[in-house]
């Protein structure tokens, strides 16, 4: 999406200014964490309930992979940290939506039964 990639490139601009440091450790842990956060989001059904947020997370993760392969470790670290939090957000949104839908379904069901009850009471 045009807008999300503009946002991402804006963040990359900001990060680029700090990537010139030498001796930066490889962000292996952060990359692993963001990967598993993405998986968790997918398992939670984020592709259905929070597709845009999931997409953002995936795009950032892809950028993080790319930065890592170019040994831009600080950039990679921050991108994967953001990807992780984006994925967590997608997961939380999905979970919240599912619970909300479940509540609404039962509410509706109770309403229907009550209406039926009132209707047969009037007979």
């Amino acid at each position: 999406m045009y807008q999300s990639s503009l946002k991402i490139s804006a963040i990359v601009i900001l990060l680029a200014s700090v990537s010139a440091c030498s001796g930066t450790p490889k962000p292996k842990t952060e990359m692993a964490l963001s990967n598993s956060a993405l998986q968790n989001a997918e398992v939670a059904g984020a592709d259905k309930h929070a597709p845009i947020e999931l997409r953002t997370a995936q795009e950032k993760q892809a950028l993080a992979d790319s930065a890592y392969s170019k040994e831009k470790f600080t950039t990679a670290k921050q991108l994967s940290e953001q990807a992780a939090v984006d994925a967590e957000y997608a997961k939380a949104k999905s979970e919240a939506q599912k619970s909300r839908l479940a509540v609404e379904e039962v509410e509706e069901s109770i309403q229907l039964i009550r209406t039926e009850l009132d209707r047969s009471n009037d007979q």
Binding site: Q3, L14, V85
Partner: protein, 270 residues
């Protein structure tokens, strides 16, 4: 939706350029994150369900503050602000989800309760219907038989040797008419029977006329004539011994039969 993105880029440019000069006093996004965090941390529900995420947010803000203070690096501070505000949003969603899950439990119980209410109402209704039917059958002095519900009108209800009904039979007619009004789906077969004494033709005529009398009495009480069929069986179906006076009187009767709903009138053998 375009606006915030476009404003980020000039801000970024400002931050990049200002790395050499005096930095602005605050990072807006970090301040927003801080405000959001403070607000969420005052919410009991959020604290209850998402303390960890709130802590993560607080740590991110602290790191952003540190980086900004020590190195004046706007880009890094922006990054921590981003993480912090996302964590706050996550905390709020977690809280909402937990609250809904709790609600769901109590609502499922409520649904069960209402379903039980419906069921018990159905039971009460069925019981009442059975009671009503029982009462009506008793009023008509009717029996439940294989042919259906049978109300017997005895010889004494008719004038002797006549088809006309006595005034004492009027309540019987009322009760039968009541039953037919209460159960509009029911059809009636009015059967005339006689004993085996006397002239066969006379007996047949009499039993037929008596059946018609009963039919008329019901129609005059507002029952649709199409619901009533008459049959004339003469002496062919005695219920008692024709050799005694008592038995013969028992055989001189009119039966009003209400077949079970769903049975065709013609299905009942003559």
């Amino acid at each position: 939706m375009n606006k915030p993105v476009l404003t980020m880029i000039p801000v970024a440019a400002v931050l990049l350029l200002s790395a050499c000069g005096s930095a602005p006093k605050k990072v807006n996004s970090l301040e927003s994150a801080r405000t959001a965090y403070l607000s969420a941390s005052k919410n009991e529900v959020v604290v209850k369900h998402a303390a960890k995420e709130l802590d993560d947010a607080r740590n991110a803000i602290a790191q952003g503050d540190l980086v900004w203070k020590k190195e004046g690096k706007g880009g890094m501070a922006e990054h921590y602000a981003y993480v912090a505000s996302k964590k706050v949003s996550i905390a709020k969603l977690i809280a909402q989800r937990n609250e809904d899950d709790a609600r769901l439990e109590s609502m499922n119980l409520e649904r069960q309760r209402v379903q039980l209410e419906v069921r018990s109402q159905e039971v009460d209704r069925a019981r009442q219907e059975a009671l009503d039917l029982q009462n009506q059958l008793e009023a008509m002095q009717a029996q439940v038989t294989a042919r259906g519900i049978v109300a017997t009108l005895s010889d004494v209800l008719f004038d002797i040797g006549e088809a006309s009904l006595k005034s004492s039979a009027m309540t019987n007619m009322d009760k039968i008419a009541n039953f037919m009004r209460s159960y509009p789906e029911r059809q009636a077969i009015v059967e005339g029977h006689t004993d085996n004494m006397g002239d066969d033709d006379f007996n047949l005529d009499l039993s037929r006329e008596r059946a018609f009398s009963v039919q008329s009495a019901l129609v005059s009480r507002g029952i649709d004539a199409s619901r009533i069929t008459t049959r004339n069986l003469g002496e062919s179906m005695p219920v008692a011994d024709n050799n005694t006076a008592d038995g013969r009187q028992k055989n001189r009767r009119v039966e009003v039969i209400f077949p079970d709903v769903g049975t065709q009138v013609s299905e009942l053998a003559e």
